[in-house]
Symmetry: C2
Subunit: 203 residues, 2 copies
DNA sequence: TGTACATCAGTGAACGCGCGTTCACTGATGTAC
DNA sequence: TGTACATCAGTGAACGCGCGTTCACTGATGTAC
């Protein structure tokens, strides 16, 4: 790919270098200069492809939301085999994403960038959230309308618990739990769904 | 308090200046120099009271965990009037703390400091978590032993959902929900407790 | 096939800045006598 | 009550550093003829 003076695909190489840095040192430890260096290029070269440091992080986050949405979509798989199984699958996908793409995850949720400053980013993020909301919507049809909470609320609960599990128990904060994040989320969602009457009261 | 050359209570003044900076600009935007300036003092003076920048943030976090633990303890109030009410009260206290002490909250959970590097900090943090675990323990006595999840898991679920609600829906990430964080957490915990059989199946 | 040329990706030097940290010092405070 | 003195909190100047960003430039690439 690298052919001497011209790089070939510097833009993506920079994104991947940034990703590696964020994975290792967190979004705070990421610097434009180091990303350039890691890509074998002068810091100034970055400006051929990005408006600046923030745009570089934003692009990492954007690609993250893309992968995230695709993963959620795949996990949901159109509600098959059952709305319930598909829904639970998206929950697992959330955690799997955080584990397999920690750099992306941090860029998306811990870099402090504001979705409103990046309209394209906000769009992909909304798309990702849309998958979970659709899964919640489909599942909520199995509840009697009277007991049915709004599906946006329903999905917000799951989103929040998933995010909380990742932040508190999957990162190296020092917070410890005798249970794996996966177990915690699985059981937590299970209890929650039982509370909605979507799972039988006994385990 | 400030009597010319000597400050009087510079240590706490620095903590409060740091707090104000973190509240306004986040943990990333906080600098030792600005904190010193805000306290009306030279950066070098900080080193009379703290080993460096990190120790200053850690002290803010430590005081945060102190307040947090006290607030949780107060909300729990020894399990009165009922174990259930006391437990729900601690959930609300979590959110109330995040709202009323955003600077502390950020220093505690978003500053990237590792609890293991600060043993005293880890102790206060454990104390705060202990209150929630005690509340969960007391409440779990109302469940038949067979269906009873470990109370540490139980409290981890609630902690995670609370934290997720704060991070996703109370901060200015741009993530939006038609529901207030308070409503989200209240309903989420309600559904969860119903799933444990601690609340009647219908609302 | 070979030459002239436009394009534009990346260079390298420079900038101003604010950061955390150090150091020898100074001068206010409070105590001993 | 007054003086001498030890203490130590805060000063101010300095440091080295790495940051993000700018600028005029250079040279590789690919196209037109």
């Amino acid at each position: 790919m690298k052919t001497g003076y011209h790089h070939g695909n510097l833009r993506q190489a920079l994104v991947e270098a940034s990703l590696a840095l964020i994975t290792e040192h967190g979004p705070t430890g990421f610097t434009l200069s180091e990303a350039a260096k890691a890509a074998g290029v002068t810091p100034a070269a970055v400006y051929r492809h990005f408006a600046g440091r923030n745009e570089l992080i934003a692009e990492v986050a954007r690609q993250g939301f893309d992968i995230f949405a695709a993963l959620m979509e795949f996990a949901y798989s159109g509600g098959q085999p059952t709305a319930l199984a598909a829904f639970e699958s998206t929950g697992r996908a959330y955690l799997a994403f955080a584990r397999r793409y920690p750099g992306h995850y941090q860029a998306m949720f811990e870099s402090g960038l504001n979705l409103n400053d990046h309209p394209d980013l906000a769009m992909v993020a909304a798309k990702a959230r849309g998958v979970l909301e659709r899964a919640a919507e489909a599942l909520s049809l199995y509840m009697p309308p009277a007991k049915r909470p709004p599906s946006t609320m329903f999905s917000a609960h799951i989103w929040a618990m998933s995010h909380g599990v990742v932040e508190l128990f999957m990162r190296g904060n020092g917070a410890k739990s005798p249970f794996s994040p996966e177990d915690l989320l699985e059981t937590g969602i299970g209890i929650y769904l039982r509370g909605l009457g979507l799972l039988p009261p006994d385990q």
